[in-house]
Amino acid sequence: MLKVENLHAFYGKSHVLHGVHFDVNPGEIVALLGRNGSGRSTTAKAIMGMVDCTGSVQWKGQQSLGKKPYEIAHLGIGYVPENRDIFPKLTVHQNLQLGEKRSGQKGRWSFEDMYTMFPRLKERQHTEAGVLSGGEQQMLTLCRTLMGDPDLIIIDEPTEGLAPKIVELVAEYLQRLKDKGVSVLLIEQKLTIAMAISDRALVMGHGSIVFQGTPDSLRADAYTRKEWLEV
């Protein structure tokens, strides 16, 4: 479904991704692991058309590289950025509204689904998102993207700042997404959870993919873990 080939990305003059190859199949959770600064977030941004890049990104057989972020979003890719870019002056509900690509569109998810998933958000529905607690903001970003009804969702560090119990909940929900036919590209720091729910794991190092395989094979691969994950 998503096929990334020979992707190079640049921030101005600095070359960050050096030929990334991987793909994501329908209904699959793929974990993208790696150390800080290895280029995982950049990969996500490159797919979304948010950084300068060359190479090829094919989405459902169509070249999406070179398109504008909003065009890519309309093709069905959702993106949850890593630093919780909630819109601080809008209410929680308005944040979610902005997730919809067209207002009032019918997709897999409704506002109610979101509020049942995280009751906390329902309580805070009419507060400015800027005053939400760190964790609440994290939940909000996730839901906001889901409102756009994507077929693939790229999530950058969704569990950061979440209480352990909520982390479990998120893991559970990611699996539910998968059941609904949504593919997930999960960028994670917390190995345990990533390994537990993903179908496949990718490890990134210095801007390229240095390992591809099942979580089990990664668990078995002590070298990769030591060299590229530092656990």
């Binding site: 607690s133 760190g134 964790g135 700042g161 352990p164 190995l191």
Partner: protein, 282 residues
């Protein structure tokens, strides 16, 4: 134009850095919350929190998202004013005081979202943190370059947070982890005895977190430390005591072992196996 010198606020840095954890209040607590409450509009977020921290203690504050941990910090540090209840710093009541007044009384905090001076160099960032505590106030009759004590202290801090090499880099050009380190650096710069850290290791990888914990331990020797954390590895690695905040109340305040064993905490927060797993991987 120099601000009036109020003697009580001027703290000799050496004294503050000495392992005393700041002066001790009448009742022996460095920081005490008494039935603290805070409402935003109709919603009461902090519903009668009580906590008493002894000087030199390292306390981890944990609790579900939205429980009110950051809000507690905001109340204590003067960002918000409590609706009712009391905050005592070294036995002195500080509710309703402005952040800068509280800071001058010896309490300093870091932020959950990095909050530094992006267009100043690392060294300048630290020096800004140092100035007031050395009594320089609003003066414009002295050159910064001549303030030996401030410069030395800033250099020392620079070394402490291991950013020597980035001395003259603008803060906005630092990597995330470096910015977090700087955040801590500014927080401890003024030599406050009570330090509040809000999720200091968020967004860091395991190895960085580990390094960072060591750093925090090192720079807060002898101080009273309160830190919010979700990473149980950090919590158990750092804290002498744990305070559990749920729904705006402190439901438990005890040693790590006892807290972990506490069923109420398990139910409200830890969610059994993840906690174990995390602690395990550490």
């Amino acid at each position: 134009m120099t601000a009036p010198t109020s003697v009580s606020a001027a703290r000799p840095p050496e004294g503050a850095r000495a392992p005393s954890g700041g002066s001790v209040g009448a009742n022996g607590f460095a920081l005490e919350l008494r039935d603290l409450r805070k409402s935003f509009g109709k919603t009461e977020i902090i519903r009668g929190a009580n906590l008493a921290v002894r000087p030199g203690e390292r306390v981890a504050v944990i609790g579900p998202n939205g429980a009110g941990k950051s809000t507690l910090f905001n109340l204590v540090s003067g960002r918000f004013e409590p609706t009712s209840g009391e905050v005592l710093l070294h036995g002195q009541r500080i509710n309703g005081k402005k952040p800068f007044e509280i800071n001058r009384l010896g309490l300093s905090r870091s932020f959950q979202i990095t909050n530094i001076f992006p267009k100043l160099s690392v060294f300048e960032n630290l020096r800004c943190g140092v100035l007031w505590s050395l009594g320089y106030r609003y003066t414009f009759l002295k050159f910064l370059a001549d303030l030996d004590d401030a410069n030395d202290r800033a250099e020392e801090l620079l070394h402490m947070i291991r950013l020597d090499r980035k001395r003259d880099v603008l803060a906005m050009n630092l990597t995330y982890a470096e910015q977090r380190a700087l955040e801590i650096g500014i927080t401890i710069a003024g030599g406050a005895g009570v330090i509040l850290l809000d999720e200091p290791t968020a967004g860091m990888s395991k190895s960085e977190t580990k390094r960072f914990i060591d750093l925090i331990k090192e720079v807060t020797v002898g101080k009273t430390l309160l830190t919010v954390e979700h990473d149980m590895g950090v919590v158990f690695g750092l804290a002498d005591k744990i305070a559990v905040v749920v729904y705006g109340e402190v439901i438990a305040f005890d040693t790590p072992e006892k807290v972990r064993a506490n069923a109420k905490v398990q139910e409200a927060y830890l969610g059994s196996h993840v906690a174990d797993a995390q602690v395990g991987t550490h």
